[in-house]
Structures are given as structure tokens and as C-alpha cells.
């Protein structure tokens, strides 16, 4: 346990250089390209007399390295600063949009695991059969479907042609999110308020985006599970179980699949970045008010502090996830030593 703690704190420390590297690149590139917050903010026809004054006010007239050091100093105080465009703290829009992205990501992940793992296990059991081949083909095809296109096709079928499901936003017109909003995770919020009508509405709005993300990512988990299952099916403990005369179903889905979870979990940590990328694209198709749209909007506005803030939050987020995966890994697999 002590070793684990030491390992984890090392991992956490390693996040810092990662953050610095990404931040430095974004910081410099954003300030080198044309356009700055002041001219983005001023109207297209406004006289430019306040530009210098405003730039001074925002500290944009200082040399880049000085701005950079100022920013790092600020960051070391765990302060992401204030937006240069809107009258708000950088954390305000992030705290509002991040839960939307996470909610979508997690439900998408559930769908992906729900399809990928059983299908992968089944394919492994029936290795080299037509079913196996079809499952693998499915895995390859969905992997190659652009997630935004999958979203559009689902919208076209279930949203427009059949008119069964809403195709945009997190809630419908008849439900006010401000009535229940607390954590920003609407599924949780509506349950906390025991508002069944709102919960149903939120859940219905999640179906298509979650399916879109989940189906396109299910391919990855399918192949992972299949590969690990194949290894496990040849391993000693499975042979032993068979030798003991356990039913084949129990051997496959009990022993082999159970052991395949650990590598799948590990991959999940690595794949989380992919998952987030997919979520961002799903957001654009479903007008999901999440981080992807926020990032784009703020880059266009040249809102330097907010863009930097978003990068920091994403970096922290993926680090925390992979850390969590490591912890769970260590807890469930006694063989893992640090």
C-alpha cells in the first residue's frame, strides 16, 4: 500500500511537466497567430482608440515571456484567472460545461462496454466461426465510422424520419434545467430532486448521443476483449477449470472473461483520450452544450485565459482518470506491484 501511494504521488507529479508542455505550446501559438482578445472584443466598426489602453489593462502589451511567467505564477496559486472577453471567471463556463461532457462520455462508455465486452467474449469463444468473423468485421466497420456521421444518420432515422427521439440539447422545451440543476450532471440532479418527468426528459435526450458515441467505440472494446479472452482461454487456469469438469459456459464467461477485465480496464485508461475526442465530436452534432463547443468559441474570441484553462482542465482530467484506473487495477489484481 505504501508503495502504491508513492507510485501514485509520482504519477501525479508527472502530470506537471505534461501540463507545462501542452500549455506552453498553446500559450505561444495563440499569441503568435493574428487576432487578439481586444480586437475580437471591439466591434467591427468601433474606433480603435482604446485598443492600446485595453491591451495594457489586460497585460497584453508585455513581452510574451513575461505574460507566460505571470500566468504560471497565477496557475501555481491554483487560479485560472478571469476571461478576457466576458465578465466572468475562467472556471465559470468550465464548471458549467464539463459535467455535460462527462455525462455524455460516461454514458457513451457504458454503451461501448455493454456492446463490446459481450460481443468480444462471444467471438472469442466461437473463434474462427462465421460469427467471429462477422463480429470482428463489425468491430472494424464501426471503428471507421466517423462519429459525427453516425450521429447524423441516427438523427435522420430516429429524430426526423420516425420522430421518436430528440436530436439536440440536454433537455426539452418543457423542462427548465434551472429547476433542478445542482451538480451539472442532469441525470443525477433530476434524481436528487426526485423529478421523474425531468429525469425521463434528460434520459431521452441522452439516448442518441450516447448510442452514437457508444457504438463507434464498441469496436475497440470488442477487439480488446476478444484478444484477451483468446489468451486466457489457453491459459493454465482455464485448462484446470475445464479439467475439473466445469461447464464450458462457466469456464468461458466466468473464469476467462473475469480475467480479461483487468487488461480491458488498463486499456480503458489509455483509451480515455480517444473517448473524450469522440465525445467532443458527438457534441458538435447534437448541439450538446459541452467543452468542445466552449473550446472552439473561445479560440475564436481569442479568450486566452479561458482556452488555457480548458487545456489545463482536460490534462488534469485525463491524468486523474488514468490514475484512478491504476488504483482500481492495483486493488483488484493482487499481482500488480509498484
Amino acid at each position: 500500500m505504501k508503495n502504491l501511494m508513492r507510485y501514485l504521488s509520482m504519477r501525479l507529479l508527472l502530470t506537471i511537466p505534461m501540463l507545462l508542455i501542452l500549455l506552453t505550446v498553446v500559450f505561444i501559438v495563440m499569441r503568435v497567430i493574428p487576432g487578439d482578445p481586444v480586437s475580437a472584443m471591439l466591434g467591427d466598426h468601433a474606433p480603435v482608440k482604446f485598443v492600446a489602453e485595453k491591451k495594457h489593462e489586460l497585460g497584453l502589451d508585455k513581452p510574451i515571456w513575461e505574460q507566460y511567467i505571470d500566468y504560471l505564477a497565477q496557475l501555481s496559486r491554483f487560479d485560472l484567472g478571469r476571461s478576457m472577453i466576458l465578465q466572468e471567471a475562467v472556471t465559470a463556463p468550465i464548471l458549467e460545461k464539463l459535467p455535460a461532457t462527462i455525462e455524455l462520455t460516461l454514458t457513451g462508455l457504458l454503451v461501448a462496454l455493454g456492446i463490446g465486452i459481450p460481443l468480444g467474449a462471444w467471438a472469442a469463444k466461437n473463434r474462427r466461426s462465421v460469427g467471429d468473423f462477422t463480429a470482428r468485421l463489425y468491430g472494424n466497420i464501426v471503428y471507421c465510422i466517423p462519429v459525427f456521421w453516425m450521429g447524423l444518420i441516427l438523427q435522420m432515422i430516429f429524430g426526423v424520419a420516425f420522430d421518436w427521439l430528440p436530436i439536440a440539447g440536454r433537455v426539452g422545451s418543457r423542462v427548465m434545467s434551472s429547476d433542478f440543476e445542482q451538480t451539472g450532471f442532469y441525470l443525477v440532479d433530476t434524481l436528487l430532486k426526485a423529478d421523474l418527468k425531468a429525469f425521463t426528459d434528460v434520459a431521452i435526450h441522452l439516448i442518441l448521443p450516447a448510442l452514437t458515441l457508444g457504438i463507434t467505440l464498441s469496436g475497440i472494446f470488442l477487439r480488446l476483449t476478444r484478444a484477451n479472452m483468446l489468451d486466457n482461454l489457453k491459459s493454465d487456469f482455464v485448462l484446470a477449470a475445464r479439467a475439473r469438469g466445469l461447464p464450458e459456459g462457466k469456464v468461458v464467461y466466468g473464469h476467462a472473461l473475469g480475467n480479461a477485465f483487468v487488461p480491458v480496464l488498463t486499456m480503458l485508461g489509455l483509451q480515455f483520450a480517444v473517448l473524450l475526442s469522440g465525445a467532443i465530436l458527438t457534441e458538435t452534432t447534437f448541439s450538446w452544450p459541452g467543452m468542445g463547443r466552449l473550446l472552439l468559441e473561445r479560440i475564436y474570441l481569442r479568450d486566452y485565459p479561458t482556452v488555457q484553462g480548458i487545456i489545463v482542465i482536460f490534462a488534469l482530467f485525463v491524468s486523474v482518470i488514468s490514475l484512478l484506473v491504476d488504483i482500481i487495477h492495483a486493488l483488484i489484481d493482487p499481482r500488480v506491484k509498484y
Partner: protein, 302 residues
């Protein structure tokens, strides 16, 4: 999207050409399904490359001709896939648009491999502080959501073929780096390389004779899979509106333009560009997949 399979790939033993020749002679019987996967992938890729090279053989319409037909004509007749809202022939845009996406994806994959492979070799072979700094940098980029990084770069640099290629290339450098570095380290520690070292072989000789050929064999496979990923990333950037300026037919952009016609029922504007992106990506994935399984006996054991 980030390459997800590469890290899974076990090192190839090399001898690409021999194996390929051997594979071709006895393929169908020995490899079964994998062989057909490879063939399908190869067929798609060759077909698309052919289309890219000789687009005029596939369509008589100019992709930018706004008088090719009436506006928003449904598929059928002389317009195989219908026309878009400006009256341009969609099939012609698909045919000519292959150049754009394939060009960007290929160039991006090439750039990332040309940067990632030497850095990986260097890092793995030299080791020490250089290795640590490089590894840390590459891991930082690798563990960050690739698309978000690409979006940030593309949005900041503005539209243009070069800019979008670079934005895509940046996120795949670590893929090659990590793979090559890992292989280099494991090969460096093989007995025969150590023996060569003891016998006084020069460092460059070891790198050139033992390590490089082995590494290259695997990267060919990775390259193919990587192109598929780059295709999807390019399409995603164009779809978000960060791709190329107008004037160049581009599948991702056509798809985002078609999105506006979703409720009014012009399904062909959405269906075909997406199908093309999927098919092209699938071609390279299957090709890479087939190659990986066939070139790698360890995988075949199962």
C-alpha cells in the same frame, strides 16, 4: 482520432518482402479470413488511389460546376448521388474530394513518421536524459485527447491545406515514437546485437544493420492503420469547419454543409460523404490489419 491499435501490436520479426512473397503464394489456405480481410482492404485502397490519380475516368462532371444540374436533385439519372444545394454533382465531388482527404492524410502520416521514427530510434538507442525528456514530451501529447489538440491547432492556425496537415501530423508523432523506441530498446538488448557490440561493431552499423530494418517492417503496418486515423481526423476537422477554404472539394466539409438539410429531407447530402470517409478509412484499416496478422506469426498462433 488517436491510433488505438498500434500500441497493441507485437514487434514484427522483419523480412517484410520475403514474407509478403511467401504469403502471396500460399495465402488463401494458410491464413483464411485474414487473407480476405487483407484483400478487401487492398482492393479499396488501390481503387481509391486509382480514383485519386485519374478522377476524370470516373466522372465527366467538374466538382465545382454549379450548373451541373438543378439544385438539390435526388440521386438517379445522370446524377448518381444527386446534386447539392448549389447544383454541383455529388459523385463528382466525392471522386475529386478523394484527392484532398487522401493527400492530407498521407502527408500527415508521412510527416509524423518522418519525425517520430528517427526520434524514437535516437531515444531508444542513446537513452539517458535525452530519452527521458523526449519520452516525457511524447507521452504528454499522447495521453492528451488528440482531436482536442488538433482542433486547437487548426482553429488557431486557420484554414489551409498545409495548416490542417500539420495539425493532424502533430498528434500522431508520439504514436511512431513510442512504437519505435520500444522496439529499439528490445532489439538493442537482444543477444546478437549485444554480441555485435562486443565484437566492436560501430554504433551506426548496429543502428543501420540490425535495428532499423526491423523497425521499418512494423512501421509499414502502423503507417497503414495511421492513415485511416488521419483520414478520420481530417474529416472531423473539416466537419467542424476548421479544414480547407472553399474551392477544394472535401468530404468532411460537404458533410457539414449537408447537415443543414437534415430536416428538409435531402438525405443524399449527408449519406454519401460519410460513406466515402468510412470506406476509405476501412480500406486502410483492413489493409493494416491483414498485414499485421499475416506478417506476424505470433499473432497467427492463436
Amino acid at each position: 482520432m488517436k491510433n488505438t491499435r498500434v500500441s497493441q501490436l507485437p514487434p514484427s520479426p522483419g523480412g517484410l518482402l520475403n514474407r509478403a512473397l511467401h504469403a502471396f503464394s500460399t495465402a488463401g489456405k494458410t491464413y483464411g479470413a485474414e487473407w480476405y480481410i487483407l484483400l478487401v482492404g487492398l482492393f479499396i485502397v488501390v481503387f481509391m488511389i486509382f480514383m485519386t490519380a485519374f478522377p476524370w475516368l470516373f466522372t465527366s462532371f467538374n466538382p465545382s460546376d454549379q450548373d451541373a444540374g438543378p439544385q438539390l436533385a435526388a440521386p438517379g439519372g445522370i446524377h448518381l448521388m444527386g446534386t447539392d444545394n448549389l447544383g454541383r454533382d455529388i459523385w463528382a465531388r466525392m471522386v475529386w474530394g478523394a484527392q484532398t482527404i487522401l493527400g492530407v492524410a498521407f502527408a500527415a502520416a508521412l510527416i509524423s513518421s518522418l519525425i517520430g521514427i528517427p526520434l524514437g530510434l535516437l531515444s531508444g538507442f542513446v537513452g539517458g536524459p535525452l530519452d527521458r525528456v523526449l519520452s516525457l514530451t511524447m507521452d504528454s501529447v499522447y495521453s492528451f485527447p488528440g482531436l482536442i489538440l488538433a482542433i486547437a491547432f487548426a482553429a488557431m492556425m486557420g484554414p489551409g491545406v498545409v495548416n490542417i496537415t500539420l495539425a493532424v501530423a502533430v498528434i500522431y508523432i508520439p504514436t511512431y515514437y513510442r512504437l519505435v523506441r520500444g522496439q529499439t530498446i528490445s532489439i538493442r538488448e537482444e543477444l546478437y546485437v549485444e554480441a555485435a557490440q562486443v565484437l566492436g561493431a560501430k554504433r551506426w552499423t548496429i543502428l543501420g544493420r540490425y535495428i532499423f530494418p526491423n523497425v521499418i517492417a512494423t512501421t509499414v503496418v502502423v503507417f497503414s492503420v495511421n492513415i485511416a486515423d488521419a483520414i478520420m481526423t481530417e474529416a472531423a476537422l473539416s466537419y467542424i469547419g476548421l479544414g480547407l477554404p472553399a474551392g477544394m472539394p472535401d468530404w468532411g466539409m460537404d458533410l457539414s454543409m449537408g447537415k443543414k438539410f437534415l430536416p428538409s429531407g435531402s438525405w443524399w447530402l449527408i449519406t454519401f460523404p460519410g460513406m466515402m470517409i468510412m470506406t476509405l478509412a476501412l480500406g486502410f484499416t483492413l489493409l493494416g490489419e491483414g498485414l499485421a496478422e499475416i506478417l506476424n506469426p505470433k499473432l497467427l498462433e492463436r
